[in-house]
C-alpha cells in the first residue's frame, strides 16, 4: 500500500469562471433538482399560510368530519378533532423551514468563527478548539438536546433554535478548519500578508471567499440536521405543541392513534414533506460539491458531505507543534493515524 491513505481528499478549488451563458445551465443536474424541490417547499412555506383553506387549529364540531379520508373539501382529510390536515401541513412547512434556516445560519456562523480562528491562531488554541469539537462530536447530540429542552418549563421556537444552534457547529468547524489550514499557506495569502494586510482583512477577503462552497455545504448540512432534530424533538413532545410544525403534526398523529385507526392521510403527508425537503438538501449539497470540485464531476462520483464522511486531512499543511499542543492533538483518531507522516 502506498504511503498516502485514501483519507486525503482533494482540496476543493472554487474556480470563478467568466459569466458566460446562464449560471443556471451550468449547474449540475442534481443541484437543479434539489433547488427546484426546495423552491417548491420554500414557496409553500412563504405563501402556504396565506392561501391555506382553513385555520389549522379549527376543530370542526361535526362528528362526521372526525378522521375523514381525503375528499374535495379537505384535500388531505381531517384529524380526529376535525382539523384540516392540508392547512396544518402548509403552516407546518413554514415553521419547520423557518427554524431550520435560522439554526443553519447561526450554527454555520459559529463553525466559520471557530474553524477559522482555530486554524489561524494555531498552536494550543487550535488544539483546544479541535479537541472541544471532537468531544462534542462523540457525545450523541439528541439525548443532550432532550435533556436541555426537557428542563425548560415552557417549550417554544426560540429555546429550540438556541439549543440546536449551540450543538450544531462542531462538524462544520472541523471541516472549515481543515480547509483554512490548506488555504492559509497558499501564495496569494502570503502575498497579501507581505503587502501588510491586516489579519482580519486577510480572513474576510482572502480566506472566507475561497471557502464559499464549503460554507454553503456546511450550511445545507446544518439545515438538514436542524430539520431532523427538530422533527424528532417535536415528535416526542419537546416542542410547543400548540404550534404547527411538521414534527408536531406527527406528534398528534402518533398520540391520537392515527396509525392503529388507519388514518394514513394524517401522518404520511408531513413525513413525506420532511423526507422531500431532506432529499432536496442532500441533492443540493451533492451539486454544490460537484460545482466546487470539478474532479468529483469527472469521476461522476457524488459526495454528499454527511456527518459520516471522514474529515479531509491535509497533514502536510499542519504547522509545527510544540510538546503541549502535540499532547492535546494526540488524542484524536485522525491525528493519531496521520502523525507518522508528520515526522520527516
Amino acid at each position: 500500500m502506498t504511503a498516502a491513505p485514501p483519507l486525503v481528499a482533494e482540496v476543493p478549488v472554487l474556480t470563478v469562471r467568466p459569466a458566460r451563458g446562464g449560471r443556471w445551465q451550468r449547474l449540475p443536474l442534481k443541484a437543479k433538482a434539489g433547488a427546484v424541490l426546495l423552491g417548491i417547499f420554500a414557496l409553500a412555506g412563504i405563501f402556504g399560510p396565506l392561501v391555506s383553506p382553513y385555520d389549522p387549529s379549527f376543530q370542526s364540531p361535526s362528528l362526521s368530519l372526525s378522521m375523514h379520508a381525503p375528499y374535495g373539501a379537505h384535500w388531505l382529510g381531517t384529524t380526529q378533532s376535525g382539523q384540516d390536515v392540508f392547512s396544518q401541513l402548509l403552516f407546518g412547512i413554514r415553521l419547520t423551514l423557518e427554524l431550520a434556516v435560522v439554526v443553519g445560519a447561526i450554527a454555520t456562523a459559529l463553525s466559520v468563527i471557530v474553524g477559522v480562528t482555530a486554524a489561524f491562531l494555531g498552536g494550543l488554541w487550535d488544539d483546544l478548539l479541535s479537541l472541544t469539537s471532537n468531544v462534542f462530536l462523540v457525545i450523541p447530540s439528541l439525548p443532550l438536546l432532550i435533556l436541555l429542552l426537557g428542563y425548560l418549563p415552557q417549550q417554544g421556537q426560540t429555546p429550540t433554535i438556541i439549543v440546536l444552534a449551540a450543538l450544531g457547529w462542531p462538524w462544520g468547524a472541523r471541516v472549515i478548519r481543515a480547509q483554512t489550514l490548506a488555504i492559509r499557506n497558499r501564495d496569494f495569502v502570503a502575498a497579501s500578508r507581505e503587502t501588510g494586510e491586516r489579519t482580519w482583512r486577510i480572513i474576510a477577503f482572502e480566506i472566507v471567499p475561497n471557502e464559499v462552497s464549503l460554507i454553503a455545504a456546511s450550511f445545507v448540512n446544518t439545515v438538514l440536521y436542524a430539520i431532523g432534530a427538530s422533527v424528532a424533538l417535536a415528535f416526542i413532545g419537546l416542542a410547543d405543541l400548540n404550534s404547527w410544525s411538521l414534527g408536531t403534526i406527527l406528534y398528534w398523529a402518533q398520540s391520537q392513534q392515527a396509525l392503529t385507526l388507519g388514518a394514513w392521510w394524517w401522518f404520511v403527508p408531513p413525513g413525506i414533506a420532511v423526507a422531500l425537503i431532506g432529499t432536496g438538501l442532500v441533492l443540493l449539497n451533492t451539486g454544490i460539491d460537484e460545482l466546487g470540485n470539478p474532479r468529483l464531476r469527472d469521476a461522476r462520483a457524488s459526495r454528499s458531505a454527511r456527518p459520516a464522511d471522514p474529515t479531509p486531512v491535509w497533514q502536510q499543511e499542519t504547522p509545527p507543534r510544540g510538546p503541549l499542543t502535540r499532547l492535546a492533538a494526540s488524542f484524536s483518531r485522525s491525528a493519531l493515524l496521520s502523525e507518522q507522516r508528520e515526522r520527516p
Binding site: 479537541l131 450523541p140 424528532a232 413532545g237 394514513w264 422531500l276 459520516a308 493515524l337 502523525e339
Partner: protein, 327 residues
C-alpha cells in the same frame, strides 16, 4: 503511548464532559423533580416539599464542589436516584429492565446495517455506473427520511394492512418473560420489523459513503498494478481496493454512531418497543428529570464504549495504528 491508550484517554475526557454537563444542566435550568411531583399532586402540603427534596436528593445541600463529588460517586455506584414517574422505584432498576432490549435490537441492527451497506457500497463502487449505482437518488431519499417516519409506514403497510408482523410491543400478550422458548420466539418475532427499519434507513448512508471512497481508491496506482499483475478480480476488489477504502469508512462509523443510535432509539417509540426510547418518551412527558438524566448518560456511555471497540477494530485493520501500538 499507544493508539488505544490515547483514544481511551480521549473517551474518558469526553465522558467527563458529559458527566459534568449532566451535573450542571439541572442546576442552571429552571424546574426540578420536586416541582413536577408537587404539580402532579396538588393537594400535597407545602411542608412535603422539603421531605420530597430530601427523599429524591435534589435539595442540593452543601457547596457546589461537595455536590459534584457526591454526584460523581453516585454515578460510579450506578445510583441515579429515585424515579418520579414510578415513584418509589429506583432509576437504575428501570434502566436495567430496558437496556437489554435496546442493546440487542439497536446494536445488532446497526452493525448489520453497516456490514450490508459497506458490502453493497463495495459492489456499487467497483461496478461504477451499474444498476446499484442507478439506485442512488432513491437511496438519498431513504437517507433523508426520519427513522420514526419510516417506522410508521412499515407498521401501516406490513403490520396493519398486510398483517405479517405485530404492530408493536416487545413480545406477545400472554407470554411470560423469561428464558423459555415461547418468549424468546415471540421477542424475536416482534423485533424483526424494528430491526428491518433500522437496517433500511441507516444502510443507505454507509453504502453511499463506501461507494464514494471505493471509486477514489480504485483510481489508485496500486489497484491498477494489482490488476496488471493479473490477479483475480475478487482479490483485487477485496484485498486491494476495499481493504483500504474501509479505513475512512470505519472512522466515519465512529463519528456517526451517535446519530444512528439516537435515531434508532426514537424509532422504538413508534413500535412501543420496551427499550430505552419508550422510557425516554415517558420520562419527557412526565418531566421525570432523574430518569432523563440517567438515559442521557447511558446513551452517551454506550456510544463512547462502542467507539472504543471500534478503535480496536481500526487497530486490526490499519497498519498505521498497529505500528503506533508497537512503538
Amino acid at each position: 503511548m499507544s493508539f488505544i491508550l490515547r483514544r481511551l484517554a480521549f473517551y474518558v475526557g469526553a465522558a467527563w464532559v458529559a458527566l459534568t454537563l449532566n451535573f450542571l444542566i439541572p442546576r442552571a435550568m429552571p424546574g426540578n423533580a420536586v416541582q413536577s411531583i408537587m404539580a402532579k399532586f396538588p393537594n400535597l402540603q407545602p411542608a412535603a416539599y422539603r421531605a420530597l427534596e430530601a427523599m429524591l436528593g435534589v435539595g442540593h445541600p452543601g457547596s457546589l464542589w461537595h455536590q459534584y463529588v457526591s454526584y460523581l460517586g453516585d454515578v460510579f455506584r450506578l445510583n441515579f436516584g429515585t424515579d418520579v414517574l414510578e415513584f418509589p422505584a429506583q432509576v437504575s432498576t428501570l434502566l436495567a429492565e430496558t437496556i437489554p432490549w435496546t442493546l440487542i435490537l439497536v446494536g445488532t441492527a446497526t452493525v448489520m446495517a453497516f456490514a450490508i451497506g459497506t458490502g453493497l457500497g463495495i459492489i456499487a463502487g467497483w461496478r461504477h455506473g451499474g444498476w446499484l449505482d442507478r439506485l442512488l437518488p432513491g437511496l438519498m431519499f431513504f437517507q433523508a427520511v426520519p427513522y420514526f417516519f419510516l417506522a410508521l409506514i412499515m407498521i401501516e403497510v406490513l403490520a396493519v394492512r398486510a398483517n405479517i408482523f405485530p404492530i408493536g410491543q416487545g413480545y406477545g400478550e400472554g407470554v411470560v418473560p423469561g428464558w423459555n422458548a415461547p418468549f424468546i420466539g415471540s421477542a424475536i418475532y416482534h423485533s424483526l420489523l424494528p430491526a428491518f427499519t433500522i437496517v433500511i434507513t441507516s444502510m443507505a448512508g454507509w453504502m453511499l459513503q463506501m461507494r464514494n471512497v471505493m471509486i477514489t481508491t480504485i483510481g489508485e496506482d496500486y489497484v491498477v498494478a494489482a490488476q496488471a499483475k493479473g490477479l483475480r478480480p475478487s482479490r483485487v476488489v477485496l484485498t486491494y481496493a476495499a481493504r483500504n477504502a474501509i479505513l475512512p469508512q470505519l472512522q466515519g462509523f465512529g463519528l456517526a454512531l451517535g446519530f444512528v443510535v439516537s435515531g434508532a432509539i426514537i424509532m422504538e417509540i413508534v413500535f412501543s418497543y420496551p427499550g430505552i426510547g419508550l422510557l425516554l418518551l415517558n420520562a419527557v412527558n412526565a418531566k421525570d428529570y432523574p430518569l432523563m438524566q440517567a438515559i442521557f448518560l447511558v446513551i452517551t456511555f454506550a456510544v463512547l464504549i462502542s467507539n472504543l471497540i471500534l478503535d480496536f477494530v481500526i487497530v486490526a485493520f490499519d497498519p498505521r495504528a498497529r505500528t503506533k501500538e508497537a512503538v
